[in-house]
Symmetry: C2
Subunit: 197 residues, 2 copies
Amino acid sequence: MFSPLIDELMSALRALPGVGPKSAQRMALHLLERDREGASRLATALATAVEGVGECDRCRTLTEQTLCSICANKRRNQALLCVVETPADVLAIEQAGTYQGTYFVLHGHLSPIDGIGPQDLGLDQLHSLLAAGGIEEVILATNPTIEGEATAHYISERAKKLDVPVSRIAHGVPLGGELEYIDGGTLAHAFSSRQRV
Amino acid sequence: MFSPLIDELMSALRALPGVGPKSAQRMALHLLERDREGASRLATALATAVEGVGECDRCRTLTEQTLCSICANKRRNQALLCVVETPADVLAIEQAGTYQGTYFVLHGHLSPIDGIGPQDLGLDQLHSLLAAGGIEEVILATNPTIEGEATAHYISERAKKLDVPVSRIAHGVPLGGELEYIDGGTLAHAFSSRQRV
């Protein structure tokens, strides 16, 4: 419908999550009509990030440095290691603002059906980190899904063999949530994990 | 929170319409974690489009060619000229699929308060096009807003001086719309523009 360059731009914009044909068209026309400077800046930012961003040597989160800012921060408690599935989870926990330890990012969860095994999640690297000593507690913060639970279980078994204490973050009714609207699985878990007051 | 390159990418993504901080974060992490190829393709598409896409010499729509595919198409009726505000409007009319004439894109509407006058809308170019002869009808398809109406009025006055017939697309209750949900302004217009059957 449009010229080849514009069609290609619309098609390339669909690589963005949540962007369908209509949004891609709106984005392409907006950038070309009203914000070419923003478009150039985005092109450069994308190219530099794809080129430069790799993984932190210690925790595997996304960074262009050898060590990410959290691993490199001397004031963080290096003896606490929180295992999460994605860099977005790191951000969510950081935004909560109370955790002062470090992280280990799996970039996924065990999923034999998709051919994702321990090596793909850097579990050998995690093993070396725990075997090297200095970690006093591993906090498992994988998602409370079947795969997340299986991954947490697998890691806890390996950590126990190394005599590193392991904990799992609490699951239950979220603060501010109304019981009426909480799913049955969460409620059942909240009951079975109840704590004496 | 993240490293500088990732922060810059998130910030650059906010140039896209409808993308706030949370979506920008999701997009950046998605591209870096799962679709670096798509990110590179998008970077190239953006850079090439910003570099290459200009305006059609005749109708001012976005294209990297001298004449856009519609103006260059010999089978389109060059004697019909539909004036619209944006390239997106051209696309909407093309998708309706019945109009066989050509277009003229204003890239906006008259808006003295924002300092947008006739020159910014290429109205001198439109004047030359009409003065050159060969246009049998100008169809005004600017938006039915105050500025769109003012722009349509201004263009119709100039076209009449050149003895070019001018028409305005019909406004009223959209097909498939239910009267109950149509705004009062549209209904009032539909009544005042009623046609004998």
